[in-house]
């Protein structure tokens, strides 16, 4: 055994450590000093503190990352990981700031602390390269999210969605752990690169295929890929809006990162790509088709998330440097757009008490700014140029078509994906039609704070500018 370098471990884990310290600080401040303060003040303080902590962690990460690894390679830090972690931290900042006026919880300190814990889980997931560490950090992430989904304790829908999320997630995690144990049995190691080396020597056995599918259940659950997606519509619809945004954004990015890492280990064997492709095709079809019949905007976003997961799975199955890069960029920009969309949904819900399609009627008259940002977000999700959604989709599909591994299936699957995104335009436009065409009985303006307007405009501008100048994205990755 090589001696353990605690210095390296600490260096790699500093962003996480900052988050942990801040989460304790948030709890302490909330419980010690703000006990008698009003709900709004407590929520504002806790959210600002949490956002500040995430920003601190992000700022530390920018200059202080290096290509090092700790614990025998189980935990790595390189430019891609650092860029992802920075993206995840940025998403957490946005989610916390956009949720600053939420009143679903009487314990804002605990809420923010849990969000920071979940973020810690995401950062670890993105950096882990060892089955055990992956499992533990995925569980840290999942368990925090289960609790967060149940956080609107007064609403039965929240508890219901959390229970479903939990039951589904618990069983998936059990399957995944079972699959990990098979992988360990086959390869004799839990370290991903060593597994890759071992699997390429072994002849393919049925037990290996079983292991692949079991692992695919756990990771498929995290990225909401069919047929392991059933929790997503209920959870997106029932969880508090910021939590749903977090599940749809940061958690997705981290899960795709780990999926890429696991794919790197399993792709030498035959079955893994096939499993991914099955899931991708099912996700594209089921996601887009089930979105057509939804009447709740949150559910539409959930179903579209399943479809987007399907697109990204194609890139992962292609597994070239370019396609992996394209998947990560896709995941980050998709997360950014979804956070914006959920922010708009939260605003509408606060004003009308509902997220049904009808609640969006006359949005452009009630608040032109909010409606305009929603237009940008949804069209970007649909992949309309010149928004960023178009560019990332283009890059992803191009990378898939160029991949040598994709010669057999690339064209067919890309055609399926493009057909799927054509279908998706219909349901996105359903929302926009309500916002811009249908008249509303209630024409009172929607209550938006300057901070919210600022963030929404910032997000919409990012979606537009990144679409116009795609080079900025690679610039972001090049910062690391």
């Amino acid at each position: 055994m090589t001696p353990v370098s605690y210095g390296d471990i600490f260096r790699i884990l500093t962003p996480e450590t900052i988050l942990e310290v801040v989460s304790l600080l948030v709890l302490f401040v909330d419980l010690a000093w703000l006990r008698r303060a009003s709900q709004a003040v407590r929520m504002r303080t806790a959210s600002l503190l949490g956002a500040f902590g995430s920003l601190l962690s992000l700022l530390w990460l920018l200059p202080n990352h290096a290509a090092i690894s700790a614990m025998g390679g189980a935990l790595v830090s390189d430019t891609t990981v650092a860029a992802l972690q920075a993206g995840i931290l940025g998403l957490t900042v946005l989610v916390l700031l956009l949720g600053i006026r939420e009143r679903f919880s009487r314990n804002p300190g605990e809420y923010v602390a849990l969000v920071l814990l979940a973020t810690t889980g995401m950062l670890l997931v993105a950096a882990a390269r060892d089955l055990l560490l992956i499992f533990v950090s995925l569980e840290l992430l999942s368990l925090s999210l289960y609790v967060l989904a149940a956080f609107a304790k007064a609403r039965a829908a929240s508890a219901e969605s959390a229970l479903k999320y939990y039951l589904f997630g618990g069983i998936s995690a059990a399957f995944m752990l079972f699959g990990f144990s098979y992988l360990y049995g086959l390869a004799g190691t839990t370290y991903l690169p060593a597994i890759a080396a071992r699997l390429s020597q072994l002849p393919l056995s049925p037990i290996e295929l079983v292991a692949f599918v079991l692992v695919a259940v756990g990771l498929g659950f995290k990225v909401a890929a069919a047929p392991f997606h059933l929790w997503a519509p209920d959870t997106y619809a029932g969880a508090p809006a910021p939590v749903a945004a977090l599940i749809a954004s940061g958690s997705k990015v981290a899960s795709f990162a780990v999926l890429i890492a696991v794919t790197a280990a399993l792709v030498p064997a035959w079955g893994w790509t096939a499993a991914l492709l099955c899931m991708a095709a099912a996700s594209i079809l089921l996601g887009n088709l089930s979105a057509l019949v939804q009447t709740s905007v949150r559910r539409i976003l959930a179903c579209s998330a399943i479809a987007h997961a399907g697109y990204m799975l194609l890139g992962i199955a292609a597994h070239t440097t370019a396609s992996n890069q394209a998947v990560l960029v896709y995941a980050l920009t998709y997360a950014l757009t979804t956070v914006g969309a959920f922010a708009v949904v939260a605003l509408v819900e606060r004003s009308t008490g509902s997220d049904r399609l009808d609640a969006f009627a006359g949005l452009s008259a009630r608040s032109p700014l909010v409606a305009a940002t929603l237009l940008v977000f949804l069209l970007s999700l649909a992949g309309i140029p010149p928004l960023v959604g178009f560019w990332v989709k283009f890059q992803l599909f191009a990378a898939v078509l160029q991949a040598p591994a994709a010669t057999g299936w690339g064209l067919g699957m890309v055609v399926l994906a493009i057909a799927g995104s054509a279908v998706s335009l219909y349901y996105y436009l359903q929302v926009l039609k309500r916002a811009y065409v249908t008249a509303s009985a209630d024409s009172s303006p929607i209550d938006v704070t300057p901070l919210e307007s600022f963030l929404l405009v910032l997000l919409a501008a990012a979606v537009l500018v990144l679409g116009l100048f795609p080079g900025l994205i690679s610039g972001f990755f090049a910062m690391f």
Binding site: A156, K164, P206, P227, G271
Partner: protein, 707 residues
């Protein structure tokens, strides 16, 4: 460093084995997979559940027939009849644990019997359980049981055998307690599980010891297995205690496990209680197959049991088995004479017949014991299914005093039952039971150690004929004493009865002294028709003597019970005309009716001891640990008071909140039980299985994986 390694299928046979040998594992795997699928079905899906269970076992039956033909072919061509496949299961450090399966005449006979009888009983169950709400669950358990039992049969490793053995034990528990809302059924299930566990502990000890001594748990491994001469020689050389060799000690430990499963004295107490389960379960598990697992285990490890015995000698384990078997045979037969529950009589008869099988193994060798096992499986399944038909037709009545005269109402059942009864009694020449039982009695007669078991078996045989005649007299002869009207059962129930009745007669042809097909097949010897087989010294006189005794016993039974005239009115008034034996010797009859007080004995000894241990544990828990907890909790309570003085409103508010949340949670749980969340999880599992199936099929089609 790899602690656990799942090596790919490493086949260690020398020549490429036939398809059926390589894929013998399918026989237990198919019913197990069916059980898994049935478990995924929602409760109302009755028809698919039954179809899956019956279809899977029928497929296994066909595969077993293929295996049977394969072994027959080897036998006819003079090739070795035992083939094994071994797989590296896991390696710990430098040692590797292997598992595998074996195909030999012993296994293949059992495979055919279990799958055939099992299929018939499955079919019968669709009729018998047709009104049960939990029909789907029932077939899930049945299929799992069949898979476990078939696993026991093909196992070539004591460990694999033990694992399947435990599956069988688990499903037995689940099926005995199938009607768990009846307290008696729940208690019987618990009793069966715990009693067999007593035997299993010894079995496990024996297994670990065997592994420690020989380094392998495979039975046959081209000379390196634990049942092969090299390992046996090693074991004989090791001395355990009290002058026993390690081979003898391990043999005795393994026999303890077999005794638990096969209801031998003193671990027989669970078997009669197990009749609380549905009758098809009694037929399948507690008569035909599971209880035979113990006998099969002894037959499987027979080389170990008989290690070191020269001509005209025997070994310590075999002596113990012979005496215990004989005592069980006699005991079961005595108790069965004084029972009034139709299934309980058959249960004690099973206990008794299992004793016969054990004596057969110990005194005559594998073939003698196994032949009785096979014939018994058929006629006892027949009797149980017949009893089920009677119970079904008499509206769930089990007391034979409230039956009578059913030969008119249920002619088909009567015919089949009579065949079963004559086979069990050992009616001369025409019934299989005569030949198999006679072989055992003959073997016991020639046993060099003692004539004790022989006389016990002889008395047992007389009693067997008597109590079966008594049962027939009570149930089918005389006049109807029950309430309502009895009716014949549907064809789906009578068809298996008639099929089994045919085999209860025909199987006898396979084991006559003139044409000993069964023995020759099991021992791999050549076979010819030779009437000189009857001229073995003492054979014919013995056969004549047992026949006369059996006929006498039947006649006495007929005399006493054939023409009972008690009326319906007296039975309905709960005043029964006393049994003739009861009026002759009321005190002895009372003892026997109370099953010689075995349960009571255990209640005042073993259970009292457990109760004492339990009381001690409670005392420790209350006073010692409870005290510690009380101190800790007092400390925390103090802390809580201090906390409350800081903020008194918090706790109250929290309590209200808690109540509110409980209400909400209750609503959510109610919603979850409305089957949507289960449906999600079912979809998840089905998706998983489909994906695995798709990948494996695709991989084998493209040649990536060889199945």
């Amino acid at each position: 460093m790899s602690l656990l390694q799942l090596a790919p299928m490493a086949e260690t046979t020398l020549a490429p084995a036939a398809w059926i040998v390589r894929n013998l594992w399918l026989i237990p795997a198919i019913p197990m997979a069916a059980a898994g699928l049935i478990a995924l079905l929602p409760q109302p899906q009755r028809r698919p559940a039954a179809a899956l269970a019956i279809g899977s076992l029928a497929t296994s039956f066909l595969l077993a027939l293929v295996a049977f033909v394969h072994v027959l072919g080897n036998w006819a061509s003079g090739a070795p009849t035992r083939e094994t496949i071994s797989v590296n299961w896991l390696s710990v450090g430098s040692s590797t644990l292997q598992m595998g399966w074996v195909l030999d005449p012993l296994a293949v006979i059992m495979l055919v019997m279990v799958t055939f009888v099992g299929s018939l009983i499955f079919l019968y169950s669709t009729g018998y359980m047709s009104h049960d709400v939990n029909f789907t669950r029932f077939f899930c358990f049945l299929a799992l049981f069949a898979g476990g039992m078939l696993g026991v049969i093909i196992a070539n490793s004591l460990l694999l055998l033990f694992m399947c053995w435990e599956i069988v034990g688990l499903t037995s528990y689940l099926l005995i307690g199938f009607w768990y809302h009846k307290p008696s059924a729940a208690a019987a299930a618990k009793k069966a599980f715990l009693t067999t566990r007593v035997g299993d502990i010894f079995f496990l000890l024996g297994m670990v010891w065997l592994y420690a001594q020989t380094g392998t748990l495979l039975f046959y491994d081209h000379g390196a297995g634990s049942m092969e001469p090299a390992a046996l020689q090693l074991l004989l050389g090791q001395h355990a205690a009290w002058g026993l060799s390690a081979a003898a000690a391990i043999g005795l430990l393994i026999f303890a496990g077999a005794a638990g499963k096969s209801g031998q004295l003193p671990l027989h107490v669970w078997l009669p209680d197990a009749m609380e389960g549905p009758t098809p379960v009694s037929a399948l598990i507690h008569a035909a197959t599971m209880v035979a697992a113990g006998v099969y285990l002894v037959a499987r490890v027979f080389p170990l049991m008989s290690a070191g015995a020269g001509p005209g000698m025997t070994t310590v384990p075999l002596t113990v088995i012979a005496w215990i078997g004989a005592a069980t045979a006699l005991f079961g037969a005595i108790v069965a004479v004084a029972q009034f529950d139709i299934k309980r009589i058959l249960a004690y008869s099973t206990v008794s017949q299992l004793g016969y099988m054990m004596v057969g193994l110990a005194t005559g060798g594998v073939a003698v014991g196994m032949f009785h096992l096979i014939t018994h499986a058929f006629f006892k399944a027949l009797l149980f299914l017949g009893a089920g038909s009677v119970i079904h037709g008499c509206h769930e009545e089990q007391d034979i005093r409230r039956m009578g005269g059913l030969r008119k109402a249920m002619p088909v059942t009567f015919l089949a039952y009579t065949v079963g009864m004559l086979a069990l009694s050992g009616f001369p020449i025409f019934f299989s039971g005569f030949w198999s039982k006679d072989a055992i009695v003959g073997a016991a007669h020639h046993w060099p150690v003692s004539q004790g078991p022989f006389w016990m078996l002889l008395i047992g045989a007389v009693l067997t004929a008597f109590y079966m005649m008594r049962q027939i007299g009570y149930v089918f002869l005389g006049s109807w004493r029950g309430a309502g009207h009895a009716h014949e059962s549907p064809a789906v129930m009578t068809f298996p009865l008639l099929t089994l009745a045919f085999f209860a007669i025909a199987l006898g042809l396979l084991g006559t002294p003139a044409w000993p097909w069964f023995t020759s097949f099991l021992e791999g010897r050549s076979l010819s028709l030779d009437l000189a087989g009857f001229q073995e010294p003492g054979l014919l006189p013995l056969m004549a003597a047992t026949s006369v005794l059996v006929l006498l016993a039947l006649a006495v039974g007929w005399r006493l019970y054939g023409r009972r005239t008690d009326t319906q009115a007296s039975a309905l008034g709960q005043v029964f005309v006393p049994d003739p034996l009861q009026s002759a010797a009321p005190r002895i009859f009372g003892w026997v009716e109370s099953r010689l007080y075995f349960d009571e004995l255990y209640a005042v000894t073993v259970l009292r001891l457990y109760a004492l241990c339990g009381a001690l544990a409670v005392w420790l828990d209350r006073c010692l640990w409870g005290g510690i907890v009380a101190v800790v909790s007092a400390g925390f309570r103090q802390l809580g008071r201090w906390n409350k003085s800081i903020d008194s409103g918090w706790i109250d508010g929290g309590f209200d909140k808690g109540c509110e949340e409980l209400t909400t949670a209750g609503g959510v749980l109610a919603w979850l039980q409305a089957d949507r969340a289960p449906a999600y999880l079912r979809t998840l599992t089905i998706g998983l299985l489909l994906l695995i199936a798709a990948l494996v099929i695709a991989a084998s089609v493209t040649g990536q994986v060889k199945l």
